[in-house]
Amino acid sequence: MNRLYDSMEPRVIDDGMLKLAVGEQGPQEEAGELAKQEGILFKDVLSLQLDFRNILRIDNLWQFENLRKLQLDNNIIEKIEGLESLTHLVWLDLSFNNIETIEGLDTLVNLEDLSLFNNRISNIDSLDALVKLQVLSLGNNQIDNMMNIIYLRRFRCLRTLSLSGNPVSEAEDYKMFICAYLPDLVYLDFRRIDDHTKEVAEAKHHYSIEELKHRENLMQARLEEEQARREELEKHKTAFVEHLNGSFLFDSMYAEDSEGNKLSSLPGVSELLEAYRDKFVIICVNIFEYGLKQQEKRKTELDTFNECVHEAIQENQEQGKRKIAKFEEKHLMSLSAIREELEMPNIEKMILECSADISELFDALMTLEMQLVEQLEETINMFERNIVDLVGLFIENVQSLMAQCRDLENHHHEKLLEISISTLEKAVKGDLDEDLSEDVRALFVDKDTIVNAVGASHDIHLLKIDNREDELVTRINSWCTRLVDKIHRDEIMRNRKRVKEINLYIDHMKSELDNLEYSDILD
């Protein structure tokens, strides 16, 4: 193909070429004249053909946002690039070029038909984003590894594939292999796959496929599990009580607490720690469950509110629509009456009447809207009060539960201190247990050291608890303010939109009437 254009210089897609192509391929005849008058915007073009132009480099296509079909065949393109913004592309033809690797297609999620026929591709990959792919043409390339076909299993919609002219197609098992591994395929190398072939192929590769399927299923199951876990966590996060349904907080308290860990090896401390941990976890779980319950409450509150507001708006819109319909009926009648009327003074009178009608409609619609705004404001304020109360209650209860945690910690601290001091006394006396490690022994040098160590551990624990509590309170408060803000903002937006709509409509009506006036006067 390139031979034909040997005389021509390799080119890059530029503005001139694009304009020319768009002009040539745009609407014809009468519509074409119109198009020429107005000019065609690149973003309105749906299909573009750039074949046999000796293009070396794809460029300047970013304006074609809505392009559905792009033909770049029979050029000398070496690299797929510059197609990132063409996200609506459905049909892409890059056949008869010099492409070596598949790349740059990651944004084309709507692509259904891809042709890379007669290139220099040796490996099928980088097509992961093309979930809707139905037709893939990869004939006359240099694909030589059968495993490439397994890669194609991920395209659930793939129905047509051509791979002839590749080294891989020389293999004697080629057809059977493809039929077996891509069972949904309908056409292979421009031929329909008959049922018999499919059966034979399946029988032949039965075992390996089963194994593959099993692996895929496992993978799928794992992915789903992961997903479910993530969703669960997300749900807890919206309730602001994530990681409270276990010993996570307790564990984190001891994670950075080296002294505490050291002290736990003292005799009697491990039992103490065990009891402490159990009690602590129970309180955490309490918080967690309470949080979920409160979340449910807030959700129903919000749902009821949304539902009611929606109903109110719908009802109001219905009223508005009825008013407009009634008006339009009358308006049409009077317009045609005006057109038929011959006497000038009469016409003027009728036009006046009409404009009075229009302003009446305007008043009516605006009254409706104002009424709705007032009603909604009241409701929104009520909701705001309720939700703030709910949040306040939640925070209060959580804080009291957290205080219990702190009490536990204090209690534990005292106990620990007692044990430590008695151990110190023993150490002073010299009858310390032999099995204590060296660094633990190091703590029992004098009273200050041991008291400091225990105190440090206690401080760390309290800090952790405080942090968790602060986090919860800040997050829920910010959620609440955001929610209320959003509701207010939405309401304002809605109001502005409606007012704008009404004004636009009334303006249109008025201008229509004015036009009528002019045309009458002209007549």
């Binding site: 519509a31 119109l34 107005e38 509110f305 507001v309 009603q375 709509e501 636009l504 409509y505």
Partner: protein
């Protein structure tokens, strides 16, 4: 047995007397009232009676002038079985018992009328009424339920009034005879119906009592026809929705409450007045409708059927009037009193007071105070509701009638009536002659058997405006088995509107067609079975100037199309073959929302103003908007000052967009939309035109169907299905012929000769030989005769041919070509005949000796000729 009976009587005498006294008092009371009435009008009584009789004789003759009397001499009793003509000893015993019972009864209650116990049957033999009941389960599934059963009886029999309206009849015929002659009085009716109902498991009884005049004369003219009663609409209760927590408050009501109240009061007053007026009006009407008082009220004897609750899931007791097949509650005021009732097992006398019609009666037949039973032991166990009694009660079907009652004093003998049979033909024809007329209040119902009318008409209901039935209000005609699936034709005489209803299956999927005239382009509404149509059309309404079509379930979401037509342009061309459609002025099309498109691009309504060359589009309204986008195209193609054609200018398209969009402002977009719309307009016009054509076609087809009105015949209907009938007849013919042939082969050669001899005589040898010789010679003679006959014909033909040939040769020159042709054809035919004759002769010559030998052989073996020694032959 009688002694026992008397004992029982004595035991109960005290309370019985008491009850009887009460009954007596009531009866006298009841009796005196009409008597008083009569006393007041003594002079009129005779006249009224005569009048009444005259009136009755007019009313009671639904079938022509045939004698309504159903007397003995019209019945052929010679064919009836013995049980009809005589009484078995058991029956005799029963009759004696009944007589005794009757005597005691008349002794104890001398004021009550004699009991209706054993009337004479068609053979003048007294038969007890219970034995006249013959419980029978009909083989037709349609007759399994009481309503259809009663309807059948009322349709099948013609009503004959009682000879004396104040007395039970002297004769009670068997149901078989009644069915045969298809007429009977109320006792015959209720006997037949009761037999059928008991047969199909109901707890039914024949009642001898007193009915109103209307009831006794089968006069429904004061009843509303059940077909005209409209079913009451069930009023849906609106559930009040609880206001939700955040429901917005309604805007403040600024109206004065006081004014509202005043207004309400005023309204109420007006309404009250209106109601009062209506009520008065109604009362006036009621008065007019009320019948003239009946002089014999309460004395007219009638018989009907009582069905007690319990069996066949009957929830409560009710009456069935066998004349009209209507069910009444036991409180109905048509039923004025009960003397006695019976089923196939026992006979009960009502001992309760009937002063308040039947309203206070309690149908607890086991209560001996209220109901005096005749046969001990077979009493109704209702009072003593013990376990085993109810068990027996459940079991007692028709089949095991005689199994039970072993310990009881006397069983009712088995019915003397033959099995009741209704032939399928009679069952289908139902009414005598297949037709019946019932007169209701302001309505007349006519019924026909299916296939009786050539157009499939099975019933017609005529509704009148007035009581005298002169002004027809509307006519409803029901059809069956029509090929065009017509089911009901409804003609409203006041508006002249005709409405045809069709069952699914019409070639044009018609459902309802209402029209005033069959002329095209007139007011009409056609409804279709839309699932049977490709275009999903539900309804098409036409007026002289418009046509409106409603669709459903279309892929293009169209649901409404309305076309306005202008006056027809007169064409000068005379070619009548070319249709001249009315010009279309305006087409309006409306579409449902297409969820695949955004609302501002989804057209909701488009109007093609064809004459003004304008197209108006209205788009759907987005969910959060109250206004919808609009677009109007003016498609006048104009030429600018330089003579160039203007393709598209901004003022050719007036647009209102709720949310202005960029690309729609472009002329190119507008131009393309316009082009598309032009195409659509053409299509729509074509559609309208096609619809018009279709209407014409439908009208033509309907007219044809009305003329032809072919009826369909089910393939299972062996009697009517012509094809299968032909086939069957052909089969029968073939069978018959086969049979004949077989007969022929067994022809007896010897018969004519054996006749000459005395019968039963043994043949002597000599006689046998002579017989054989005679037979053989006779056969030989016949063979020769046959040969001669063929020979003679052959010769005759040849001679004629020769003559003809001669004649031809002589006149050959003068012959016309036609004559020559005739001659030639004659020759060929003659030659053919000669050849055939020749062949037959040859064949005969060949076969004759063989046949002769065969006969000889046969005769030789014939046992009648005895063993003829071979040497004699």
């Amino acid at each position: 047995m009688e002694v026992l009976r008397e004992k029982v009587e004595e035991e109960e005498a005290a309370e019985r007397e008491e009850a009887a006294e009460r009954a007596e008092r009531a009866r006298t009371e009841k009796m005196t009232r009409p008597v008083e009435v009569r006393k007041e009008e003594t002079t009129l009584t005779q006249e009224t009676l005569r009048d009444l009789e005259k009136k009755l004789s007019e009313i009671q003759i639904p079938v022509s002038a045939e004698l309504p009397a159903f007397t003995k001499d019209t019945i052929d009793i010679s064919m009836l079985p013995v049980s009809y003509k005589t009484n078995t000893p058991k029956e005799e015993q029963l009759l004696q018992l009944a007589d005794n019972f009757s005597r005691q009864y008349s002794h104890l209650c001398p004021d009550r009328v004699p009991l209706f116990l054993h009337p004479l049957n068609e053979c003048e033999v007294p038969k007890f009424v219970s034995t006249t009941l013959r419980p029978t389960l009909m083989p037709y599934p349609e007759l399994y339920n009481w309503d259809s059963c009663a309807e059948f009886v009322s349709d099948f029999l013609t009503m004959v009034p009682l000879p004396d309206p104040l007395k039970p009849p002297s004769h009670l015929y068997s149901s078989t005879t009644v069915l045969k002659y298809q007429k009977g009085n109320c006792f015959d009716f209720s006997t037949l119906l009761c037999s059928m109902l008991i047969g199909s498991g109901y707890d039914a009884y024949c009642v001898n009592g007193y009915g109103s005049q209307d009831l006794c004369h089968m006069d429904l003219t004061r009843e509303v026809c059940p077909l005209t009663v409209k079913p009451k609409e069930t009023i849906k209760r609106e559930e009040k929705v609880l206001p939700k927590k955040y429901t917005i408050r309604p805007p403040r009501d600024l109206c004065s409450r006081f004014e509202q109240e005043q207004e309400m009061k005023r309204q109420q007053e007006i309404r009250a007045q209106e109601e009062k007026r209506l009520k008065e009006e109604e009362e006036r009407l009621m008065e007019a409708e009320k019948a003239s008082p009946d002089a014999l009220h309460g004395l007219r004897v009638h018989s009907w059927v009582l069905v007690l609750s319990g069996k066949r899931e009957v929830p409560e007791n009710f009456f069935i009037d066998p004349f009209t097949a209507r069910s009444y509650s036991t409180q109905d005021e048509h039923f004025l009193g009960i003397e006695s009732l019976w089923n196939h097992r026992n006979y009960w006398i009502n001992m309760q007071d009937c002063w308040n019609c039947c309203k206070d009666l309690i149908f607890d037949l086991g209560d001996p105070v209220r109901w005096e039973y005749m046969l001990l032991g077979t009493d109704k166990p209702e009072l003593s509701l013990t376990e085993d009694d109810s068990g027996i009660n459940d079991e007692d079907d028709v089949e095991n009638l005689d199994k039970q009652d072993e310990d009881k004093s006397f069983d009712m003998p088995h019915s003397w009536v033959e099995q009741i049979e209704i032939s399928p033909e009679a069952f289908e024809t139902r009414c005598p002659n297949g037709q019946k007329v019932i007169q209701y209040k302001r309505a007349k119902l006519e019924k026909w058997a299916p296939y009786l009318n050539r157009n499939g008409l099975v019933s017609r209901l005529t509704t009148y405006e007035d009581l005298a039935c002169t002004n027809i209000l509307e006519i409803k005609e029901w059809y069956q088995n029509r090929e065009d699936m017509l089911e009901l034709k409804h003609i409203n005489k006041t508006t002249d509107l005709k409405t045809d209803y069709f069952k699914p299956g019409h070639p044009h999927a018609l459902r309802v067609h209402s029209y005033k005239s069959m002329q095209p382009e007139m007011d009409r509404v056609i409804e279709f079975y839309e699932t049977a149509r490709v275009d999903g059309l539900i309804k098409r309404e036409e007026t002289p100037e418009t046509m409106t079509e409603y669709y459903q379930g279309r892929s293009d979401f169209l649901f409404y199309r309305h076309a306005d037509f202008g006056p027809r342009v007169k064409k000068l061309t005379l070619s009548s073959t070319e249709s001249n459609p009315r010009p279309i002025v305006k087409i309006t099309e409306q579409f449902f929302r297409n969820p695949a498109k955004p609302a501002e691009e989804d057209v909701a309504e488009r109007v093609f103003l064809v004459t003004e060359e304008r197209i108006q589009l209205r788009y759907h309204c987005r969910e959060d908007h109250i206004t919808a986008s609009k677009r109007e195209f003016l498609r006048r193609s104009e030429v600018d000052s330089k003579g160039n054609k203007i393709i598209m200018t901004p003022d050719m398209c007036v647009t209102f967009e709720v949310e202005p969009m960029e690309h729609t402002k472009k002329l190119l977009y507008q131009y393309e939309t316009l082009m598309h719309l032009k195409k659509e307009e053409k299509l729509s016009r074509h559609q309208v035109w096609e619809s018009e054509l279709e209407v014409l076609e439908i009208l033509k087809l309907r007219e044809e169907e009305e003329e032809v009105h072919t009826l369909t015949v089910s393939i299972y209907d062996t009697k009517r299905n012509e094809k299968s009938k032909e086939y069957r007849e052909a089969m029968e013919r073939v069978m018959h012929e086969e049979h004949l042939r077989q007969m022929e082969t067994q022809l007896d050669y010897l018969a004519p000769f054996l006749v000459q001899l005395a019968p039963g005589e043994k043949l002597t040898r000599w006689q046998a030989v002579r017989l054989k010789d005679e037979c053989l010679s006779d056969f030989k003679q016949r063979l020769i005769n046959k040969a001669n006959l063929i020979q003679a014909r052959f010769e005759k033909e040849t001679q004629e041919l020769q003559k003809k040939q001669q004649w031809y040769q002589e006149n050959q020159v003068t012959l016309t070509p036609e004559d020559e042709d005739q001659y030639l054809s004659y020759c060929s035919q003659a030659m053919f005949r000669i050849r055939i004759l020749e062949q037959r002769l040859n064949r005969h010559k060949e076969l004759a000796p063989l046949k002769y030998l065969a006969l000889e052989e046969k005769l030789h073996k014939d046992p009648r000729l005895g063993e003829l020694p071979k040497m004699f032959t």
